[in-house]
């Protein structure tokens, strides 16, 4: 490269344009100038336009009273709350559906991906059909289907479906009603026991690992860990009492009181997102597992590993290396796709902020900047986490 450019420079300095270095500099200055000019042009126009409409720029509007209702809120929210609080509610709703959706989609994806590789003809074809059909129908159509097609056709409140006639779970057009836990003062001991169990399981695992490396003796780490993490809180609860009561949903008049309700908007967007993204993850999982050469399995069997150990210790760690990067982008896609919930009125960030707040205040530039900034930060955080994980499991080469 450098030899080339030197030769070129020596050959002709007739004009700046024929000098590679000068040409590069000129081009870059030109590009930067165009971008800068466009930015100035846009900013100027926006200021003029906003001034004409009497909209003050700045983030002061966040302190104003919202005055609109939000159907689903994880934090206390009333009509008198500030717009900033409405923003928080929207953000938390987005995160809620994304986090649960990511977990569900990963589960569906791994099950279906492995099912596609099954030697059972029916199972493999069923999984393949699922993937092909779901991936080729727009997500928006699927969201509308779950909300207007399925959940809207559920029975009304008075004819609620009662799960197993237990009077605990009720399903109707207004959502899924279920018992709500109410924590009593002494409850803190259960999470404390859970934390102790987690720490103990971590140290047992370290100790068992070290002992196996030194002596070759194995220790049932998994079952011990399970006993510590689940058993310890249970035991503590049995001894000291759980200090928890449930409020049950009861049909009173025309609606249920007590308990808690999962609204159909949430169920619809969650189902649509996890089923849609699950199909993509299934393809990624299948590709990852298929990319591991069969020699790896054979070598593991030759060393005397059992099939479960082969999968866990040989195939999966290598397949994960291939699976993780595209999996990350699917997680990000799911988070971004949760914004489609605007069509069914699930109050996530875009619908609360870009929809309602934008219409109400007219602060278009600030609203769009904040919303895009939030998605960009979520993207950056998830990719940073996944890059860290990816580096940890990366192949260590000589």
């Amino acid at each position: 490269m450098s030899v080339m450019s030197e030769a070129r420079q020596a050959a002709g300095r007739r004009s700046l344009w024929q000098n590679e270095l000068a040409r590069g500099v000129i081009l870059q200055i030109l590009a930067a100038a165009i971008v800068l000019a466009l930015t100035v042009f846009f900013v100027h126009n926006t200021t003029v336009n906003l001034a004409k409409r009497g909209i003050a720029s700045g983030f002061g509007f966040l302190d104003g009273t919202a005055g609109f209702d939000i159907s689903i809120s994880l934090i206390p929210y009333t009509l008198q709350s500030s717009i900033g609080r409405a923003f928080l509610v929207g953000l938390m709703n987005t995160l809620l559906v994304s986090v649960i959706g990511v977990v569900l989609a990963t589960l569906i994806g791994f099950v279906v991906g492995v099912a596609r590789l099954s030697r059972n003809f029916l199972i493999a074809k069923l999984a393949a059909a699922y993937v092909d059909i779901i991936r080729n129908i727009p997500l928006l159509a699927q969201i509308i289907f779950w909300y207007f097609g399925v959940l809207a056709s559920l029975p009304g409140v008075r004819q609620s479906l009662d799960f197993l006639n237990l009077k605990l779970l009720f399903l109707n057009t207004r959502g899924l009603y279920m018992p709500a836990p109410i924590l009593q003062p002494g409850f803190w001991i259960i999470p404390a026991a859970l934390v102790v169990g987690l720490i103990a399981a971590f140290f047992v695992r370290r100790w068992a690992h070290r002992r196996q490396e030194l002596t070759g003796q194995q220790f049932p780490t998994f079952w011990t860990g399970l006993a510590l993490i689940i058993g310890l809180p249970l035991l503590v609860g049995l001894v000291a009492g759980f200090h928890i009561t449930f409020s049950l949903p009861m049909l009173k008049g025309f609606n249920f009181s007590g308990g808690m309700v999962v609204l159909p908007e949430f169920v619809a967007i969650l189902l649509a997102l996890s089923i849609y993204t699950g199909a993509f993850i299934a393809e990624i999982v299948r590709g990852g597992v298929q990319a591991i050469s069969h020699g790896q399995t054979e070598a593991a069997y030759a060393l005397g590993l059992r099939p479960s150990q082969t999968t866990r210790l040989v195939i999966l760690p290598q397949a994960l290396r291939i699976i993780v990067p595209p999996l990350t982008s699917q997680f990000l896609n799911l988070t971004k796709n949760s914004s489609l919930a605007v069509v069914i009125g699930y109050p996530e960030l875009v619908s609360v902020f870009m929809g309602t707040v934008l219409n109400q205040t007219g602060q278009a530039v600030e609203v769009i900047a904040i919303t895009m900034g939030v998605y960009l930060s979520i993207s950056l955080v998830i990719s940073a986490l996944m890059n860290w994980y990816n580096r940890r499991i990366a192949l260590v080469e000589r």
């Binding site: 997500l139 875009v350 278009a364």
Partner: protein, 371 residues
């Protein structure tokens, strides 16, 4: 048994046929469905699932569906799908509010497009180069005049466009426009010029980090604020620009993957022949890189095709929007599932054929160097 042994000397016995349980239908069933108890359970579960899904679906969509003509929901007397609605609304679903007497223009436009695409995509048909030039240079002008008007044709405003026609306009234009932009962005991202690289990286990462809805909202709500008073673009054009730029960023990343797979020797070889940057990329690097990235590019196109549904959120009524508003019509209340089934079938046909074609291309292109 005994007499068989007497008739043949040792080693000369003809091969016996394999046991009946190992070949034919029974053998296949045993190997693939009932090879172990666990496998048998899985098979039974799968059969039960199929039993749960297939008969009701067939019943709903075909057996107890309403096929006859009609003007309102009352015409759908049976319990299944109300295809009557699709029949009554077919014109709207296909053309939107495009004037009835002008619809031949839409037909002609897409007939031309599909014919040229067939010539391009089917391997054995000659005139590839000519039809490519026609499709990418001459056809867009013809399509614009045919659809919008001018040269003696009455003007049809874009607000009257809708249905499948709008979906196809959005996706075709998006695909044709986003590929060159994507190539330029990918080249810029790998450029030796730091300012170019920075600009391209920031654009790509920004666009890939935000949802398409926010880009569309920006194009439809905020963009008019950016322009001086009186200067404005068509609403459809703004949505189209948003979709194109969005998809270009994704295509740029796919092509970057292809560029990264080109060995350094190719660059050095091209430079040692004295080719400059553009000649090197046009004749040596891009032909190889694009070939590698074809499956990814087609996947992006499928994504773009499905993403066009999002324009309904900013008020453009494409196929899905038209189907939804048809089902909301007071005459046709309660036909949302039929409407969605129709939309799904249309999208599935387009996307599935695109993905199959890309798989075929992948197999064809890999023939040489896949072990």
């Amino acid at each position: 048994m005994a007499d068989i042994a007497t008739r043949h000397s040792p080693g000369s016995h003809p091969d016996l046929p394999p046991p009946a349980s190992e070949v034919g239908v029974i053998g296949w069933l045993r190997r693939n469905l009932f090879s172990s108890p666990a496998n048998t359970v899985l098979t039974l579960v799968a059969l039960y699932l199929l039993y749960l899904i297939i008969p009701p679906l067939v019943d709903w969509a075909i057996i107890s569906a309403n096929w006859g003509p009609g003007t309102s929901r009352a015409a759908c007397t049976k319990s299944g799908a109300c295809w009557t609605m699709i029949r009554a609304r077919f014109g709207l679903l296909m053309y939107g509010f495009y004037p009835l007497d002008q619809r031949w223009r839409v037909d002609l436009t897409f007939l031309l497009q599909f014919a040229t695409m067939a010539v391009l995509l089917i391997e054995k048909v000659p005139y590839k180069k000519q039809s490519a030039i026609f499709l990418f240079v001459i056809y867009p002008v013809i399509a614009f005049i045919l659809l919008y008007g001018g040269f003696g044709l009455p003007v049809v405003e874009t607000s009257q466009w809708g249905g499948l026609m709008l979906t196809l306009v959005l996706s075709t234009t998006g695909i044709v426009a986003s590929l060159p932009i994507g190539i330029l962005l990918a080249l810029g991202r790998r450029s030796a010029l730091p300012v170019m690289r920075l600009l391209c990286i920031s654009f790509i990462e920004f666009v890939r980090g935000v949802p398409l809805i926010s880009v569309l909202f920006m194009a439809s709500v905020v963009f008019p604020l950016f322009l001086p008073e009186g200067m404005n673009f068509d609403k459809l054009l703004r949505a189209l620009v948003g979709i194109t730029l969005f998809s270009a960023a994704y295509i740029a990343e796919v092509i970057r993957g292809g560029l990264q797979a080109i060995p350094k020797g190719q660059y050095e070889g091209a430079m040692s022949l004295g080719l400059n940057y553009w000649k090197m990329n046009t004749f040596i690097i891009l032909p190889q890189a694009l070939r590698i990235s074809i499956p990814g590019i087609v996947n992006s196109f499928i994504g773009l095709f499905m993403d066009t549904t999002l324009v309904l959120i900013v008020g453009q009524i494409e196929l899905l929007g038209m189907a939804q508003s048809s089902a909301r019509d007071p005459n046709w209340l309660g036909t949302i599932n039929t409407a969605l089934a129709f939309v799904s079938i249309v999208y599935f046909t387009f996307c599935f054929s695109m993905s199959r074609y890309s798989q075929y291309l992948e197999r064809k292109l890999h023939r040489g160097h896949k072990r």
